[in-house]
Amino acid sequence: ILGGRTSRPGRWPWQCSLQNGPSGHICGCVLIGKKWILTAAHCFEGRETASVWKVVFGINNLDHPSVFMQIRLVKQIILHPQYNRAVVDYDVSIVELDEAINETSYVRPVCLPRKDQLVQPDTYCYITGWGHLGNRMPFKLQEGEVRIISQKQCQSYFDLKTITSRMLCAGFESGTVDSCMGDSGGPLVCETPENQWTLFGLTSWGSVCFSKVLGPGVYSNVTHFVEWIEKQIYIRTFLL
């Protein structure tokens, strides 16, 4: 996260770290059910085998495992069938864990939006992750407050790319607060008036975040995928 701050342990209990063998942290992820997480499809490019991954929950400092930490292996990876790696469209995947997590105050699922629940432009939401800070990689989980940007306004920042309805933009024109490499798959969450945090975006792509080219970050629009996500979980829980 660029322009964010170190977050307090336990503040984002749905944030998880997707790790791959010796490389350690590769992408962020989000807990949505006791056995299910969401992340970006592009996190699995060239690494689609479930057995090479582990998921770490309840952690703040990647370098110092906490007593609240829970680790699970990956049972299966479900990439969105329309995922297009060339234009990074439909950048979402569902991961089934080998075993359910134990719900604690440090490890809890986030709410998914209803399929008609859209987040309005100019709403302020939060992004979190262990991605690049612009000059180094952090050990501690970072958080940043970003503003939701309309699709039309967002398109004006990206001449060579099409912003589709599967994408959601958030951030600032000046790029002051933005997600960066290593934050992919992590959450963009907004708080509802009932004090419930709802997942509206998954960190997906943007300009090279510490270059001269700035602008908002682009997130997978979770509202667009809710029906697909619920059906995939249903099929795999009750039918297969």
Binding site: R11, I32, R108, V110, D159, Q196, E230, Y234, T237, L239
Partner: protein, 376 residues
């Protein structure tokens, strides 16, 4: 390459098999960088003249954003050709070596376009020192010059009638970007090889029609996608499946859509909702005979709600005899399935004449622990 193994990036290179020292072992590769797909050559080799080690690195570089933006200013006819010769250098198929642009091409590009960049406070890319490229009449080195057939615009650009290149995203956007308005002419979907949504007039690719995902605002791209027989229902992927197979607990549509939304809660006069099952394309109530609490739990879970549920057995006062019932299969415990609809069978009558009502609760989510207070 002293033994059979090679270190990166030479691994797999035919040079290694010759037991050479493994230098200069990059091979020609097909050009994939979209900006440069209309060059008079098809193969490139890395590193390029900007120091990028791969095409992926080149595609996300500052220069691959800069040149397409600059080419729109019409500062030099062959700017895009020059940009591509340094981003994806031509590869000589015999030597696997890169072929540079000629010095004059570099100098003309810089001479015409550097000042345009200066107006917006940007600098000409530092790595493009023209003296590194050979003169065109150099005896021992070949170099690239554009010929008449060279495309002035990249595939990401539209060529105005005037010859200027404007970004494809600006074509048919309601604003004239070409001096002659040619980017706003012939803007129908069919002229652009696309399909037009009947109401919203949105243009979509033909591959998006009947792909299971709604792209037109009114879903027109996903209608009339199958012709099922009268005794069949259409799956989400437009296969046709017999009505009797719908919600039988087994997957009959390839995408499992025949087993979606089989269990539901319907409106009721009390605070609890009636448990209804959609089976064989009809709606059924569930008879309370032999009902077990664990089945209520199962029903809530299948609807996507949590528990523990509240179950109420309600007497059915409907005397019309048109009520459709499902009964619990006497052998349900031995069934190797977790789908509730497969545990229920059609019954002639419901002995208790009572139906199942449920109250399922939504599992908690999205809550953070309260912030700890500390006295100051």
């Amino acid at each position: 390459c002293i033994d059979a193994s090679c270190s990166e990036p030479c691994n797999g290179s035919p040079y290694c098999e010759n037991h050479t020292n493994g230098t200069n072992c990059s091979l020609c590769e097909p050009i994939t960088l979209e900006l440069c797909l209309n060059l008079p050559y098809n193969h490139t080799v890395y590193p390029n003249y900007l120091g990028h080690k791969t095409q992926k690195e080149a595609s996300t570089s500052w220069e691959s954003s800069l040149f397409p933006a600059l080419v729109q200013t019409n500062c030099y006819k062959y700017l895009m050709f020059f940009a591509c010769t340094i981003l994806v250098p031509k590869c000589d198929s015999e030597s696997n070596q890169r072929i540079p642009p000629c010095r004059s091409l570099c100098e003309h590009s810089k001479e015409h376009c550097e000042s345009v960049l200066g107006i917006v406070g940007l600098q000409w890319p530092e790595d493009t020192d023209c003296s590194q490229f050979p003169e065109e009449n150099s005896a021992n080195e070949t170099c690239l010059l554009p010929d008449e057939a060279v495309e002035e615009c990249s595939p990401s650009h539209f060529k105005c009638k005037s010859g200027r290149c404007v970004l494809v995203s600006r074509k048919c956007d309601g604003h004239a970007d070409c001096e002659d308005d040619s980017d706003e002419k012939n803007c129908g979907c069919s002229e652009r090889g696309l399909w037009e949504c009947p109401v919203s007039k949105l243009c979509i690719k033909h591959t998006m029609i009947c792909d299971g995902f709604s792209d037109c605002l009114d879903n027109a791209d996903e209608t009339n996608c199958s012709t099922c027989k009268i005794n069949e229902l259409v799956c989400a992927n437009y296969d046709c499946v017999h009505r009797n197979l719908w919600c039988d607990g087994k997957r009959d549509c390839a995408d499992s859509s025949d087993e979606w939304n089989c269990v539901a809660l319907s409106e009721s006069s009390s605070s609890l909702s009636l448990l209804t099952i959609h089976k064989h394309a009809s709606e059924y109530l569930v008879c309370a005979d032999d009902w077990q609490e664990e089945l209520s739990q199962q029903a809530c879970k299948q609807i996507g709600l949590g528990g523990p549920p509240v179950t109420q057995i309600m007497e059915d006062n409907d005397q019309s005899h048109h009520r459709k019932w499902l009964r619990l299969n006497s052998d349900w415990r031995n069934k190797n399935t977790s789908a509730l609809q497969s545990l229920l069978v059609k019954g002639k009558f419901c002995q208790s004449r009572s139906k199942i009502s449920l109250l399922c609760t939504r599992e908690d989510c999205g809550r953070r622990p309260a912030a700890r207070m500390s006295k100051r």
